[in-house]
Amino acid sequence: MKSLLLLAGLLAAAMAPAQDTYRGKPGSKLTIDGDSNVHKWKVESLAVGGVFKLTAANLAKTGPVDAAAKVTLITRSLKSNNKRMDEVMHAALNADTHKTIEFDLDQLMVTQIKDKEASCQCRGTVKINGKTKVITLPVTILERGDKLTVKGATELKMTDFGIKPPAPQLPTGSVTTKDEVKIAFEWVVQK
């Protein structure tokens, strides 16, 4: 009986479509929008890489999807197009010590499908400044040929990751940065 079950399991595994490995490609980006007592600010990185393992066919039906993903972003690649602000931001993120910002996927659940775009809820662990936090966020995954485009947005607090909101001194006075920031990303991966 035991051998029979094992055989059935092996057959099921053999018949299930194999997971594909997708890798981050140029065209990806992540933006962080924040606010301060002076003006709103925005930083962006185009170096969003990592690996996404899943069977794309499973995105065509609602329910949990067996998938693994690790998104990696090089901390210093976040740019504001302002030299001084970049220096302040990279110092606040301890970019020299904590060279990457990471997200490890735990769970992925397809909630709705429209055309070839799957609306999903995902849960994972985000690591910034060496500190981790489990978050859940909605994402969409669009399949086009051998490419997937994963889009999503969420809000985070800098202090949750041990980051003191920067308060640089300018000739016009000091700046107070708000703790809350909005993260938005577009992660392009290809087989």
Binding site: R23, P26, L46, I74, S80, N82, K83, E87
Partner: protein, 430 residues
């Protein structure tokens, strides 16, 4: 009639909040060419923490020794190949004679160095185009043309003001560079004297418009966001006839721009009156730039902008007069503070600062690209870097340098041939 009161146009914020070169991770530099220009660069690098000079190169022993005395920690090389093989050197500044630039740029880019090439880029259109093509083919290296005014903050402060129509309708521009100096360098060695006086050799010299005039002419093209469509020139040897030179010491050129605006340029080595300036004329006002300061002269019928009511006004009579009054020193000192430009460094300083910072930006962006996406081909990396262009400090790239060089060389040709030369778009396609 224009009002005889000038309003100074100043950036409101000292630029230091955005410029702290000490905070920029350093890019180790090597200097090729230690003549007078090279030594000026060397002195500027000495006060720029983000661009430590680690190597100097000149094939002439006296020039090399002099440079090494000024930069004792830098390694010395008598051939460029040695400096380019030095792994300590990340970026190269080329300050040799103009006609020597191309092979040095080629070798430096091949060696994976970032390159700052003095302007003009070359003494021929073909070399200028070849340099621009090389820079394009090596996107992993930051290439900067030595059009230093493109990095100067006062001009960047003025750019949006002029582009937004602060002058009214564009009419014309006038630029001038007046000095009294022979351009001839002296050496006890006849062969060396011939070599260092390449600017006076008609076969090699880009002329006054090529060597000096291109900076100001480029500012006008840059502000107008247009390339001249034709140039006419005149020139003569008027002051320095005794040494038998053929390269004119006094030149004028008129550049025609699409739409009808003209630029009149005058460069002379025979008279220093009124130094150097750029003036932009429009239907509502004129703007004059001198060094790192600028003034606007409004027409009486020009619309009121608002802020000019509160701006400081100076009287202008073409020259600065020394006031012979009691307490002149005290008053002068007070005035001096009020007159001081918020930009205390030279255009060369800002250009080299931008070069070091941008080289660091390119270097890290390429490293991050490779770490994230793996080794990419040149077009993929070039596309990635093009999206990061806004994160760089303003500086002239290879295309800017090629355009300014070709236009200036054609202006020099117009002077020598006394002809009107049409400037063709196809010359600028790389």
């Amino acid at each position: 009639m224009a009002l005889l009161r000038a309003m100074e146009l100043r950036a409101q914020e000292a630029p230091d909040s955005a410029r702290d070169s000490a905070a920029t991770p350093p890019i180790r530099c090597g200097l090729i060419g230690c003549g007078p220009r090279g030594r000026e660069i060397l002195s500027t690098l000495a006060v720029l923490p983000s661009a430590p000079l680690v190597a100097v190169c000149d094939h002439y022993p006296a020039s090399l020794n002099r440079a090494r005395k000024l930069a004792p920690k830098a390694a010395g090389y008598d051939a460029a190949a040695g400096l380019l093989a030095d792994k300590q050197v990340e970026a190269v500044i080329i300050a040799t004679a103009t006609h020597q630039h191309l092979p040095l740029v080629q070798a430096a880019l091949k060696a994976g160095k970032h390159v700052y090439c003095e302007a003009p880029l070359a003494h021929t259109m073909e070399d200028a185009r070849a340099i621009a093509a090389l820079a394009k083919a090596h996107p992993r290296s930051n290439f900067q043309s030595g059009l230093q005014l493109r990095s100067e903050p006062q001009r960047h402060f003025l750019l949006p003001f002029i582009r937004a129509g602060g002058l009214g309708a564009t009419l014309k521009a006038r630029v001038q560079w007046h000095r009294k100096q022979s351009w001839r360098q002296v050496s006890p060695n006849a062969e060396r004297e011939k070599e260092i006086n390449w600017r006076l050799d008609p076969a090699l010299s880009p002329g006054l418009l090529g060597e000096l005039g291109l900076h100001q002419a480029d500012v006008v093209s840059w502000f107008y966001h247009l390339r001249p469509s034709a140039v006419t020139g005149f020139g003569s040897v008027l002051k320095w006839k005794d040494d038998g030179r053929k390269v004119p010491d006094t030149v004028q050129a008129v550049f025609e721009f699409p739409g009808g605006a003209h630029l009149t340029q005058e460069v002379t080595l025979a008279n220093s009156f009124d130094g150097e300036y750029e003036i932009f004329y429009g239907t509502d006002s004129a703007i004059m730039l001198r060094d790192s300061r600028a003034w606007m002269f409004k027409e009486t019928d020009a619309p009121l902008i608002g802020w000019e009511v509160y701006a400081r006004k100076d009287q202008f009579f073409g020259e600065t007069g020394i006031a012979l009054v009691a307490n002149a020193t005290k008053l002068a000192a007070k005035e001096e503070a009020a007159l001081a430009s918020p930009f205390q460094n030279t255009p060369l300083y800002y250009a080299l600062e931008a070069f070091a910072y941008n080289a660091h930006q390119v270097k890290t962006a390429v490293e991050d690209f490779v770490a994230t996406f793996g080794e990419g081909d040149a077009p993929a990396i070039a596309e990635h870097l093009s999206k990061l262009k806004e994160s760089r400090l303003p500086a002239a790239d290879a295309a800017d340098g090629m355009q300014a060089t070709i236009v200036a060389l054609k202006a020099n040709e117009a002077v020598l041939t006394r002809k009107r030369i049409e400037i063709l778009d196809e010359w600028f396609k790389v």
